[in-house]
């Protein structure tokens, strides 16, 4: 959201700057440009008609829908702005933090030590409360008992992380059946 806002504000300010330059040039009749020569008469009339229509309550259904959509978009944007950004580091307890890569490395190492897992990818999200949200995707051979592997893998990872003191508030394990020729490890 921060990057989007930055890009939006840069474009907005750039647009305002360009309009400001044009306004000065046309307002003071510089370089042969005159305010009267600007083709804004139709635009001005359009705005007048729109405002008059809004006052009379005679706007078209299409216009009302567009206005409602704009209001909803503004509300969504406002709520998204109010939502605080996720912290960069995983909070462990009072005054102790680990970077997400540390948790990722640890989870990935443990997951790949499980015999049925041929490869893994880990995504760690830090939360404001202690503990990380870990999304683990493990690749296994086709035809294996996925439920057994999933529960075994989940408990192994949780056990190992708690031994190391790395708190996990949510651990999502997803198993993907893969061709061993395309995984990191062919045989465990």
């Amino acid at each position: 959201m921060r990057v989007f806002n930055r890009v939006f504000m840069i474009l907005l300010l750039a647009g305002l700057f360009v309009l400001g330059v044009y306004m000065i040039v046309y307002a003071f009749d510089l370089f042969g440009s005159k305010l009267a020569s600007l083709p804004i008469t139709d635009f001005g009339k359009g705005v007048e008609n729109f405002v008059a229509g809004a006052e009379n309550g005679s706007l078209s259904a299409k216009t009302i829908i567009i206005l409602i959509l704009l209001a909803i978009l503004g509300l969504i944007w406002f709520i998204a702005e109010l939502k605080p950004t996720a912290p960069r580091r995983v909070r462990m307890g009072s005054g102790t933090y680990v970077t997400r890569t540390v948790v990722e490395d640890e989870v990935s190492t443990v997951a790949e030590q499980v015999p049925d897992v041929l490869g893994s990818s880990v995504d760690v999200k830090a939360r404001r409360s202690p503990g990380a949200q870990v999304d683990l995707e493990a690749r296994v051979r086709r035809g294996e008992d996925l439920n057994t592997i999933k529960s075994g893998l989940k408990s192994t990872v949780q056990e190992h992380l708690s031994e190391k003191g790395l708190p996990v508030s949510k651990l999502n394990v997803k198993l993907v059946e893969a061709d061993p020729r395309q995984t990191k490890t062919r045989v465990q």
Partner: protein, 100 residues
């Protein structure tokens, strides 16, 4: 009670002497460090009311990370002058003799 660069130096020495600490952390985007004159202490940021210690932990971990962090905090406490000490584990360093 030390202050500024002296505290940073003391914190760095204390952290490096703790079991399970491989080296001082270098951060990811910005290097955490304390500067004074021409001297720089990496991995320690001294604030007026807080002290941030960035470390790289040795892997495999000899003990849980919270215990390592607590040991560092205990070692630094006499010099910290009541500052809130935060320990950040920036990375893990795999020991050379481990075939991991």
């Amino acid at each position: 009670m030390a202050d500024g660069i002296e505290l940073a130096r003391a914190a760095s020495v204390a952290a490096l002497a703790t079991e399970g600490v491989h080296s001082m952390g270098r951060g990811r985007y910005v290097e955490p460090a304390t500067y004074e004159g021409s001297e720089k202490v990496s991995g320690v940021v001294v604030g007026p009311e807080d002290l941030q210690i960035h470390i790289v932990a040795r892997y495999p971990l000899p003990r849980p990370i919270p215990e390592i962090a607590e040991s560092i905090r205990e070692r630094v406490a006499p010099e910290a002058g009541g500052r809130k000490t935060t320990v950040v584990v920036d990375d893990l360093e795999v020991a050379d003799d481990e075939s991991l």
